[in-house]
Every structure is written in structure tokens, then in C-alpha cells.
Symmetry: C2
């Protein structure tokens, strides 16, 4: 999507690459929204740092960065030993990242049998393919979601913008391009449908206030930042037409695990007859579980994420401040589970379905016997 | 309640006062939670500054401070002219504060007919009475709410602490002592019932993370600060026994206007069969309206409250930082309305009643014909 009028992906091959082989560039997302800084990755070690230091985040983008990390390693030394070492270095950067491990193992399986001289080229080609596949999935999610936004616009007699609400950041920065929840919104905007997005701040890490607001602003999409407390009030007063969020994990029965606070917005949407949709790529469905509340363990993250926050001072310095009394304990559950009964529908790359076992199986029939 | 082991009210006559006449002391609440600073008010002007600069906040405390402000004015000059001037100065500090106007007009009506020489004494006596009445009301609210906490404790076989959740700050700092929503909690703690309070941060002004957490910590009540997004998840997992919040305005039908985000917690409580109580002094019931959603206008506050936040740096300096992109607009509705259907009961100084017209009229029969 656009930054300052220019189209970007979240990861790309540097302009001076030759025959598809060269340095890779990314956006340092830790500097957003107060600074837009791109970084050039020349080596495996630089790619590993980018993942470890969270210059890149979001499962698909981490996977893509790992794939390019292997390619960078093989550009320098395509030996068997270096291939295995590079894989270990990358997996160790964020050991619990499923997409990262998947991408590294996918490349390993393709590269081990290849001649050393061919490996770098193959790795770059596969990394590019992984990126393009992610973009295709997200574009497809957006196309299906666009239909919902268009319908809401037409229901309103094309007389006023469609008001959407989203939580956290499921935008293009978390993927290679388009994003999941924001993909329908970007596509509606690009199609000339007037949209306005209520952006939940999304405490404690403020991904909404920092990343989603920045993405929308840079692409020219009208939006307003609100505290997480405000969405219910807006829905009570008819100021939200449609909610769309992303998800980290969806069960086979349609329960949705997403950033903490999603459940509260789904309750408010249900109470006010506002449609509540969740956008997701099919591969994030966990077919092995049904009951999200009982079966999904919720990560408890460091209390400092709640107790402290970073922002920019009037003088322009990015500074961290403490918000609560020194002696007060903090709890910081990172996700919650929204039961399927509160979800109007799931927007996937294959179309939209009810958040239910039957709905999901109709879209993914090959999973029927699992 | 206690601060550092010593009992305080939020406003008190200085120790060196003679015959009930002298300087008044308050806590500078703008310095909390990072510093505990008391201030001595010697003059009308100092009392007006305390209200205007929000060193004191909360309707009952503002009213009490205004009453003492008049007393301080009359101590210096008990003339008719000074009485009227002092009333004007005080009312202008926060023109929309209902309790402030009420307190000033109450004192004016009593002092105008009095001899100049008697006025200061009368004013101090009435200010003390206003404080004591507030304390009595809040103590009574706490006594009734204590019954709910005790029942929850006994329901759990006295085997584990009672887990409460509260939003914003309805504690003793907003009143003269005890508070409203926190009064039952302080009383349960003082009665030896083990309690633990989940403290909603309460964005955007963070009154929970700063004031409620500080109050509870100073009085020795076990508590944990959470982001506003987390309460629903905790209720889904059985980690909240009882919610108690305050209210700014309650309709004759039991709809509750309170700090933004209260509605979301009430929805989650309802969805998880967690009792949701609202504590209030009878005088805050607005008998002239029924439908809170339709009839209560919601104050829209400055966007800077969302876009920026103050905290303390590692070096100990209180600093303000910006959280969102420069170009992003912000909306900041300050309150929301929780419909009576989501409220288990109202805790008043006269007892607990259903959040309904019938419930309220049974407790306040003198309002029956209004």
C-alpha cells in the first residue's frame, strides 16, 4: 500500500539486485508511527536481527523475512553446512513463530537436494513466491470483504461513508501487502467507496493507534483513533456499520482468538446488531480444536507493556514513561477468545462463511475428514 | 482511608486551626500516583485554584472544597460584598459542576441573613457538616455493598479471596472519604474479608491505573492493574466474582451514565453471569429522565487526552508523550450509558435495589410523584 504517495510492500528486493539476487529491504516497524525508516538487509545476520528485534512483525511477514534470510545466507555461502546453520539461526530468532518455522522448513526441503551453485537462485525465487502467495491470499480476502462494504454503502443509499471499526493491526504491515482485516477497507477505498475507520487504540501495545492509524493515513483512508473503551458507545449510537478484525487462530468451530479486547467489541456489536466479521487466511484455521475458550492457552506477556508506554515528546525524542504506581502489580493477557456465536462471518481467501463447523467445512471441504 | 499507614480524608482542617477556623489542607491529586503532595489553602483564591487546576476532583470533593473556599473568604473579610464576590469566584472555577453550585448556594442562603461577625464560624461549621454528610453517605453505601462481598466470600466457602473488578476511580479521592464503588471494598478489607481488585486502567485519562491503584495500594488492598481490554477475558475464565463501578448520573429507570467503557464491562458481566453493581449516592439520581441512551448528552473531550499521555521517566521526570501519528484525527467521548437491563443492582446509601423505576422508587418513595 502507499506511504507518502508511493506504493510499498513490507519487504522487497533492493533495486540494485541482479537477476533476482541481492539485498532485501524492509520497513523498521519499531520506528512507526513517529518515523518511517527502511533498512537494507545484506546478510543472514541482518535478517535474523530484523526478526529478533521486531523490525518486522506479523506471522506472514516474519515467514517471508526468514525465507529471504536463507537466501541471503546462501548468496554468501551455498554449502550444506551454511544452509543448516542459517536455518538454525533463523528458527532461534522467535522460536514460537509458526510461519517462520514453516517457511524455513519449506525452503530446507527444496534446497537440500539442489546443487550448491543453484541454491541461492532457488531460495530467492521461493522467497519471492512466498511473498506473492501471501499477497494473493490477502488480495482475495479483500475482494470478498469489499462486497460487504459495498453492500453497506448501497444499503445507505450511497449517501454517506461506510463506518467501520477495527481492533489492533491486521493491516499490510503485518503481511507482505494488503493485510487481512484492512484489505477489504483498502480495496473499498481504492474502488472509490467512501469509508471511515474507527481505529481502536489497542492497549497495551497500541498497535491500532500506532500502526493501523499510520497505514490508513498514509494510504489516504479517512479514520479516527479512539480508546478501546469507546467502541461500544459508538455502536449504541449507530455510528458503526461494520466491524472487521483479524485473528491469530480460529478453531474448526469458528471461535476466534485475537488481540485482547476483541471479545468486548464483538459483544457490543451483537448487542447493537452491528455485523462483526473476522478476516483470515485459511492456513490460520486450527482444525485440531473446536472450543477456543477451553482449548486455546492465552499468552501472559510482561507487565511492563501495561505499566510503561513509549511516545514522542514535544521535543521529538521517543521516550518511555511509567503510568502506574511503582507498587501496583499488573496482569497482561495478550489475547482473548470470541465465541463463534458472536461472529457474523469469516472472510477468507475462498469467500465468506458462517463462523461454524459447517460454514468452514463448506469452504474447506478437503478438511472434512480431519 | 490510609496513605502510608496514616488515615486521611481528601480535605481537612489544618492542625493549627483554632475553634474550628483556620487553613484547609488537601491532596494535590494531579501529582498522583507519582508523588504524594498535600497543599495548604489559606485564602479564597487558593481554594479556587485548587478546584480550577483539578488538585481536587470528584463532585463531592469539589463541593466540599467550595464550601471551605467560602469559609476562607469570610475568615478574611465577612462583609456582604466579599460573600457575594467569593461565591462568584468559586462558581466560575468549574461552571458545569453541579455539586459546586449546590454547595455555594447552600452556604449563601445560610450566610446572607447572618451577622458579619458570625459568618466565618457558620461557614466553617457548615463546610464540616457537608464533609461529614458525604462521609456518612459513602460509609452507608459501603456497608450495604459489604453485604454483597461477604455473601460472595461465603458462597466460595471462605476458601479464596473475592475477586472484584472496577472501572475508573470512584474511590475516596473523588469524595471526602470512603468513595462510592470502592467503599464496599475498603469496608470488606477492613472487616478482614480477603479481596482482590482488578483495576481497569481506564483510558484515556487512566484514573484507574493512577488513582484507584494508588488508593488501594496505600490502604493495603490487594489489586492488579489491567488494560481496559482484559476484563472480558478474565470474566470468561471465572476470575471475576463481582463488578462494582460508580456513576456520574443515573436515570429514574436505572440507566447508568459512567466513564466511557463501563458499558463494555457490563456486557461482559452479563454474558458471563457475573453480577454487575453500580454504587451511587441518592442525590446523583436524575429523576427527570428515564432513557439514558436517548436523553443523556455525552461530553466530547479534547483529542489530546487520547493522543498524548503523561508518565514518569526512568530518571523520575513527569513527561508528556504523543502516542499516535501527527496526522490522525481523534474522537474522545468521555462517558457511555449502560442500560438498566445489564445492571444487577444499584447500591445506595439506603440499601440495594434493582436498576429499575420500581426498584428506585421503593428506596426513594418521596420521589414517587415526581
Amino acid at each position: 500500500m502507499k506511504v507518502g504517495g508511493r506504493a510499498y510492500r513490507s519487504i522487497w528486493l533492493a533495486e540494485d539486485a541482479k537477476d533476482g539476487i541481492g539485498a532485501v529491504e524492509i520497513i523498521d516497524q519499531t520506528r512507526l508511527p513517529h518515523g518511517f525508516v527502511t533498512r537494507r538487509l545484506e546478510t543472514l545476520e541482518e535478517a535474523a536481527t530484523a526478526i529478533r528485534e521486531m523490525w518486522v512483525r506479523g506471522a506472514p511477514l516474519i515467514g517471508a523475512t526468514a525465507a529471504y534470510g536463507l537466501a541471503l545466507a546462501l548468496r554468501a555461502d551455498p554449502s550444506d553446512a551454511n544452509l543448516e546453520r542459517a536455518a538454525e539461526v533463523l528458527i532461534a530468532t522467535r522460536p514460537t513463530a509458526v510461519n517462520l518455522r514453516w517457511a524455513v522448513e519449506d525452503l530446507l526441503a527444496r534446497l537440500r537436494p539442489a546443487a550448491a551453485g543453484a541454491r541461492a537462485g532457488l531460495a530467492y525465487a521461493r522467497a519471492a513466491e512466498i511473498c506473492d502467495q501471501d499477497v494473493a491470499i490477502n488480495r482475495s480476502i479483500g475482494g470478498h470483504g469489499l462486497g460487504l462494504i459495498r453492500a453497506a454503502w448501497e444499503d445507505g443509499g450511497r449517501a454517506r461513508p461506510v463506518n467501520l471499526l477495527t481492533h489492533c493491526n491486521a493491516g499490510w504491515l503485518a503481511t507482505v501487502d494488503w493485510g487481512t482485516a484492512l484489505s477489504p477497507i483498502f480495496q473499498a477505498h481504492d474502488a472509490g467507496i467512501p469509508v471511515h475507520v474507527w481505529v481502536d487504540e489497542t492497549r497495551p501495545r497500541n498497535q491500532g493507534a500506532s500502526l493501523t492509524a499510520w497505514e490508513l493515513g498514509q494510504h489516504g483512508v479517512a479514520h479516527t483513533v479512539i480508546v478501546d473503551n469507546a467502541g461500544g458507545h459508538l455502536m449504541q449510537h449507530g455510528r458503526v456499520d461494520l466491524c472487521i478484525t483479524g485473528t491469530d487462530r480460529t478453531t474448526a468451530a469458528g471461535d476466534v482468538c485475537n488481540k485482547i479486547g476483541t471479545y468486548l467489541k464483538a459483544l457490543a456489536a451483537f448487542d447493537n446488531d452491528v455485523p462483526f466479521y473476522v478476516a483470515l487466511p485459511g492456513p490460520t484455521i486450527d482444525w485440531s480444536i473446536e472450543d477456543g475458550l477451553a482449548e486455546i492457552p492465552i499468552e501472559e506477556r510482561p507487565g511492563a507493556e501495561v505499566a510503561e508506554i513509549a511516545g514522542v515528546t514535544a521535543a521529538g525524542a521517543v521516550t518511555r514513561v511509567r503510568l502506574i504506581p511503582e507498587a501496583s502489580p499488573v496482569a497482561n493477557p495478550a489475547f482473548d477468545v470470541t465465541p463463534a456465536r458472536l461472529v457474523t462471518g469469516l472472510i477468507t481467501e475462498r469467500g465468506i462463511c458462517p463462523a461454524s463447523r459447517e460454514g468452514l467445512r463448506a469452504l474447506y471441504p478437503e478438511r472434512h475428514n480431519q
